[in-house]
């Protein structure tokens, strides 16, 4: 997305393409306004205990970890919920990478019966809202003994992301020249070794993309986690925030709540910031261009 017409002598970029200094300053102020809720949440989270409620607009009188320490008192403690979220996201990412890459390779390079039908079925799952399938999903997970189970929730997330992942990976493999694998086959590489050793490095951008999207989904998802997890010990971070809001003795501890929000949002912001290129290319191939 950074490519474009930088070489064009006039640099107009169409209507409104060239902002003057004032235009840019205006846009910059708007951008600051956009991130101000995030910034103020972070500032509030390091206030000393109680200060979040008494002086909402003031800067912290001192930097304090009190709000973060408070999170240790909620339910099973923040460490458990953080570990749960990491585990669910980890399984969802690894599962997405393995299943998405294999399927993308299969659909891109092989011919087999019902191939097109299967591909369409996988893509068509995009159209069905999962919110509508929560009750039967609960029944299926119960049959598998996976209710209140982080592995079960991660499998649901892998399914959420599957159409996008398969689509992105098939397109990625489609762009790899066939000569490459033919050379490897002549060299006598087996199919698995061919995929892992030769093809996977060629589609690394696609792999990073589907991993990033799977992480963001699994880390942030609220509805399925709310319904499929009923034991406090299995809660993920977004569900923990719900109990932080209700407070320990029915008084909301706003500082602690914002500390929880900060812990929840930081990995998303960091991963997005570092892997932006892959994020945008994911939107490009998965959502815009087909």
């Amino acid at each position: 997305m950074t490519a474009g017409t930088a070489s064009s002598p006039t640099r107009r970029f169409g209507p409104l393409g060239r902002l003057g200094t004032w235009g840019f300053l205006g846009a910059f102020v708007l951008a600051l306004l956009f991130i101000s809720p995030l910034v103020w949440s972070a500032v509030t989270s390091v206030k000393p205990a109680g200060e979040a409620a008494t002086a909402p607009m003031a800067l912290p009188s001192e930097i304090s970890a009190a709000n973060y320490e408070r999170l240790g008192d909620y339910g099973a403690g923040i460490a458990t919920y953080l570990a749960n979220s990491i585990l669910v996201s980890g399984i969802a990412v690894v599962g997405t990478l393995i299943i998405g890459t294999m399927a993308g390779y299969g659909f891109s390079r092989f011919d087999f019966r019902f191939k097109n039908l299967l591909f369409i079925i996988i893509l068509a799952t995009l159209m069905i809202p999962f919110q509508a399938l929560m009750i039967p999903l609960f029944v299926v997970l119960r049959q598998l003994g996976l209710t209140n189970d982080l592995f079960g929730l991660a499998m649901v997330y892998i399914m959420f992301q599957l159409p996008f992942s398969v689509f992105v990976m098939r397109n990625s493999f489609d762009r790899v020249p066939r000569e490459l694998e033919e050379a490897a086959i002549v060299d006598g590489a087996g199919q698995i070794r061919l995929l892992v050793g030769v093809m996977a490095p060629m589609v690394l951008p696609g792999i990073v993309t589907i991993g990033l999207f799977a992480f963001l989904l699994a880390w942030n998802e609220f509805f399925a986690a709310l319904i499929l997890l009923t034991h406090e010990s299995t809660f993920t971070l977004p569900i923990l925030l719900l109990s932080a809001r209700q407070g320990l003795w029915f008084t909301i501890e706003w500082g602690a709540l914002q500390a929880g929000v900060v812990i929840t949002m930081i990995p998303c912001l960091v991963f997005y910031f570092l892997l932006q290129r892959f994020y945008v290319s994911g939107l490009q191939s998965g959502a815009v261009k087909a």
């Binding site: 107009r12 169409g14 600051l32 294999m102 087999f112 299926v140 086959i185 929840t264």
Partner: protein, 308 residues
């Protein structure tokens, strides 16, 4: 396996056909994990949903086949239709505002320059943080006792005393719409931006040589060329808004006076508060059919079968 795969241009017809059937097996092998996941976590629940919606499964666990009774009830359920009506208003507000803001932002930051990249990143941050986190920020910002929003508005002299934003239907709706617009504008911006950057620059230059104003080249060049993307963004926003739940559950809990109950929220209440699983599933199926039609349109646009 390796040895046969090696001799891919088989020397005799026999090895050749072995080679192709092996390839078929490998293809099936590679897609099989995806198929297992789709079958267990999508096709099975979907089939089960149809069955459950035809039963009177409730808290007692007793399941009796009741035919289309749940659907009949759904179509006379005034509160379900009230929830649908509310969701529709919410969807129209959020989609319009998010689209317009996203479109404006895309125009603003489209130049492929480093400083525009910085602005884009800032506009996009709210999109990646998750709806629950965003909701917990807004429930605090708009709180009447500890919220910064009231403090700022009072300091600016716009209000005299704190507004209890989430206690009145209109201000609660305004708060939610504001939050979701803030959260999703960056998404609309990025998608529209990708499409806008694909418009050839020389079209604009030709238009400028012909004396076209910025407004004219926007109306005659940009908008017509990115129309499929505009349609796509609108459909994604509409579908997402129709399924809205998290932000209502966190910010208003459906209140005040049940004035902010969305369709998904109503279904959630039927299922997990009222334990009417059969009925709730029937309501889900009604919503599902409606959204599938929208999703089908989305897929058509994705595959560029339609030119709008």
């Amino acid at each position: 396996m390796t040895a046969t795969a090696t001799s891919r241009e088989g020397r005799s017809p026999a090895t050749r056909s072995t080679y192709f059937s092996r390839r078929r097996l490998w293809g099936a092998f590679f897609v099989s994990p995806a198929l297992v996941v789709v079958t267990i976590f999508f096709l099975a629940p979907l089939a089960l949903a149809i069955w459950i919606s035809l039963t009177d499964w409730n808290i007692g666990g007793f399941q009796r086949f009741v035919g289309l009774a749940n659907y009949q009830r759904a179509f006379t359920d005034a509160r379900f239709f009230e929830a649908l009506r509310f969701t529709t208003i919410y969807t129209l507000l959020v989609t319009t505002l998010t689209f317009l803001l996203g479109f404006g932002l895309a125009l603003l930051v489209r130049a492929p320059l480093m400083r525009m990249w910085a602005l884009r990143t800032m506009f996009y941050f709210p999109v990646v943080i998750g709806l629950a986190a965003a909701s917990f920020i807004f429930v605090w910002l708009f709180n009447d006792q500890v919220g910064v929003v009231n403090e700022v508005l009072m300091a600016l002299g716009l209000i005299d005393k704190p507004v209890v934003w989430l206690a009145h239907p209109d201000t609660a709706m305004a708060t939610l719409v504001l939050m979701v617009t803030w959260k999703n504008a960056g998404f609309a911006m990025i998608i529209l931006l990708i499409a806008m950057q694909a418009v050839p620059e020389n079209l604009y230059e030709a238009a400028r040589v012909d004396g076209a104003t910025a407004w004219q080249s926007l109306r005659r060049i940009t908008i017509p060329l990115i129309l499929p993307t505009i349609a796509l963004v609108l459909i994604i926003l509409v579908v997402t808004s129709y399924l809205a739940f998290d932000q209502f559950y966190i910010l208003t809990r459906g209140g005040p006076n049940n004035s902010t109950i969305t369709a998904t929220y109503w279904i959630y209440n039927q299922a997990f508060i009222g334990f009417r699983f059969g009925y709730a599933t029937a309501l889900s199926m009604v919503l599902l059919v409606f959204l599938v039609v929208l999703g089908w349109l989305q897929l058509r646009i994705l595959r560029r079968d339609v030119t709008l």
